[in-house]
């Protein structure tokens, strides 16, 4: 038998019957999973206290592979399920894995209201700009004029800026990175989990097999290079002229502020009511 070097990520994967995974060769989801695991491994959290919740889609298949409390829910509803888990047991760290279609189309309502409540969930939105699992239909983040199987003549709709959407709804931690920037993703995941409030990280990812093929993006390595070359860190944005920012992915922590968190607010309410004579 070949000896496989044991890495930190292997400790966090479930070993029986879950592999091979469903993701295509060249998919970014595994890379993002690696970043999430390395972030968690570097933190002092008991894995019994981590709940990973997801919806439906390629990225949402992630929880089955990891050795946490895991919940693979309905299409679009991961944040609503996560809200229930978190409210009943606020000490648990609840991480939501979702995709662009899952989170911003069918699940858009839950996203904005969880952000408004500022409930302490960590939403990691892996944005591949397309519905991969169903074979390449356009999503709310499919770029204008890009090709999808349901937009064969080019997408006539404008696309969502996911981070702006979350910030507009009141999310207190919002960041964007790409699957190429693994260390940055890892740092953001750590920061978002530690942040007491609703946090959303948009990880721009590559779907070479479907989005890439339909839009002639040149395969997985080329798409990784594109993520490197077409993205600009937030710190550099001010120094660049506007024409150089055209079509670029802006990476960085876009918002980090402290606002009253929902579970803490609820705990305060309970204290206040019980002090007035409610039953213990």
């Amino acid at each position: 038998m070949a000896t496989i070097p044991q890495r930190i990520i292997h400790e966090y994967l479930r070993h029986d019957k879950k592999f091979p995974h469903v993701w295509c060769a060249g998919c970014s989801n595994g890379i993002v999973l690696g970043s999430i695991i390395r972030a968690l491994a570097g933190m002092d959290i008991d894995r019994d206290d981590i709940v990973m919740v997801s919806g439906i889609g390629c990225s949402s298949r992630m929880p089955v592979y990891v050795d946490f409390n895991t919940l693979h829910t309905l299409h679009g509803r991961s944040i609503a399920y996560a809200t229930g888990v978190k409210l009943h047991k606020p000490h648990l760290k609840v991480i939501v894995i979702t995709g662009d279609g899952d989170c911003t189309a069918i699940g858009g309502n839950h996203l904005i209201h969880a952000a408004r409540r500022n409930i302490d969930l960590t939403v990691i939105l892996i944005n591949n700009n397309i519905y991969g699992m169903t074979g390449g239909q356009c999503s709310p983040t499919t770029p204008h004029e890009a090709i999808a199987t349901t937009a064969p003549y080019g997408n006539i709709e404008p696309d969502f800026n996911v981070c702006e959407l979350a910030m507009g709804a009141g999310a207190s931690y919002v960041a964007r990175t790409t699957a190429f920037h693994t260390q940055e993703t890892q740092n953001m995941v750590k920061e978002a989990i530690e942040h007491p409030g609703f946090s959303l990280i948009e990880v721009v990812s590559a779907c070479p097999v479907i989005f890439g093929r339909l839009n002639k993006k040149g395969g997985a390595p080329q798409m990784m290079k594109d993520m490197r070359d077409n993205s600009v860190p937030l710190a550099a944005v001010e120094k660049l002229p506007p024409d150089k920012l055209e079509g670029k992915i802006i990476r960085g922590v876009l918002r980090k502020e402290l606002r009253p968190e929902f579970c803490a607010q609820y705990a305060d309410l309970v204290k206040r009511v019980q002090a007035k004579g409610g039953e213990a």
């Binding site: 919940l71 309905l74 309970v270």
Partner: protein
């Protein structure tokens, strides 16, 4: 500036009027808490039944005619350290109570027709993942928005078949305010015992009707809670094929680190495409109900011993039917009433016995035949049994005299 002044002054009389109303409401709740005899609404009875059964998590969305349940639990749950949350819609509500239940809560939501329709996918998820939770549906006239403040029994079949795919169903149907309280406790108990989403169907009139009720002392309330696993985590199977398919249930954060998915899964909870494992899961869901029919089915039999005519009715219609029985008996007509408290699983055996014993069956219902089609399903082998259908979907109730008249016309 003037405009702001007028809008500011406009709501003033409103708040003045509503302040004493709020006070009376709180006094009323206090009387219920002290377990005095009070004139109680069906919806209030549901809320206090939930609390007495140990419900500590409610997520819901306002909808007539169920809203009082949410309002009372918004007042009571924080007092007891439980969670009340108003979600963004009914879909989020069913999802939140399922998530909370997986974290160990006894959870409940309340809605009406339109919200119940929205919840169907989530109800299916709770059933396939065998997660305890309760959905109260205070029925109103449909389809669609229908008549929000009028009574109907149009969700009887939806409560059985509403979610896609074959799935088990436990649905309870009270006919009085006191029974609203009792069956809410039973619904939560059954959800915990059978690890499934149990549905409580109320009629709009029952939700809003007031009757004198005194809640029993807590010492007399039987509360069932889920069985917790005693095995070490690596031995734990989330869907263990225990005796009669009632298996222990761990909660998130207790060291078991199990997986839950809406995909067809194996005993550990991991997705599967194997035909044998898929068949096992489906059989397990089915047998959980069919092996425990005796525990699940509850029926009331009223003056059926010597009856030649039987009325089969549920909920508020059964109240009218009971009066019709009394009226008919005075005229010397041998009528009885069979009333299901558990409407799903359907009381097939009791209905078959009824069909053997009587010549005529009368089925009054506030829909276009959702109950009578079940009777017809069972009547097949006895073509000489006569079925009188009384159906109404205009928002008006069926009165005892309506039943009596139609019965006399039919026989």
């Amino acid at each position: 500036m003037k405009k702001t002044a007028t809008t500011k002054s406009a709501p003033k009389p409103k708040t003045k009027a509503s302040a004493p109303k709020q006070e009376t409401k709180l006094e009323e709740l206090q009387a219920i808490r002290e377990r005095k005899t009070v004139l109680m609404q069906g919806n209030e009875a549901v809320a206090y039944g939930a609390l007495d059964a140990g419900c500590n998590f409610f997520a819901g969305y306002p909808i007539t005619p169920s809203t009082e349940i949410a309002e009372i639990l918004a007042t009571e749950l924080p007092r007891r350290g439980g969670v009340f949350v108003q979600m963004e819609d009914e879909i989020a509500s069913i999802c939140a109570i399922t998530g909370a239940s997986l974290a160990g809560a006894k959870s409940l939501t309340a809605t009406s027709g339109p919200g119940f329709s929205l919840m169907q996918e989530g109800i299916g998820f709770a059933k396939i993942t065998e997660t305890p939770c309760v959905v109260v549906n205070v029925q109103r006239v449909g389809p669609s928005t229908g008549m929000p403040t009028s009574c109907a029994q149009g969700d009887i079949q939806q409560s059985r078949w509403g979610s896609h795919g074959d799935s088990p169903a436990i649905v309870l149907y009270p006919d009085s305010v006191k029974e609203c309280y009792e069956l809410t406790i039973r619904a939560i108990n059954l959800s915990e015992k059978y690890r499934t989403c149990v549905i409580l169907l109320l009629d709009e009139v029952l939700g809003h009707m007031r009757e004198a009720v005194r809640l029993p002392d807590m010492a007399n309330v039987r509360v069932i809670s889920r069985i917790k696993p005693t095995v070490p985590p690596h031995w734990y199977k989330h869907y263990d094929e225990n005796q009669k398919y009632l298996s222990p249930l761990a909660s998130y954060g207790e060291g078991y680190r199990f997986h839950v998915t809406g995909l067809t899964h194996d005993q550990l909870g991991f997705p599967t495409n194997k035909a044998t494992e898929a068949a096992d899961m489906m059989e397990r869901l089915r047998k959980k109900i069919t092996y425990n029919i005796r525990d699940l089915v509850q029926i009331e039999s009223y003056k059926m011993e010597d009856a030649k005519i039987a009325i089969f009715a549920a909920g508020i219609v059964a109240r009218a039917a009971k009066s019709a029985v009394v009226m008919a008996r005075k005229e010397g007509i041998p009528v009885g009433l069979l009333r299901p408290l558990t409407i799903w699983p359907f009381p097939d055996d009791a209905v078959r016995k009824m069909l053997r014993d009587v010549d005529v069956v009368v089925v009054p219902e506030l829909n276009q035949g959702q109950l009578s089609r079940e009777i017809q399903r069972l009547v097949k082998d006895r073509s000489d049994s006569k079925l009188i259908k009384i159906q109404r979907v205009n928002g008006k109730l069926i009165s005892p005299t309506d039943i009596l008249r139609k019965m006399k016309e039919g026989i």
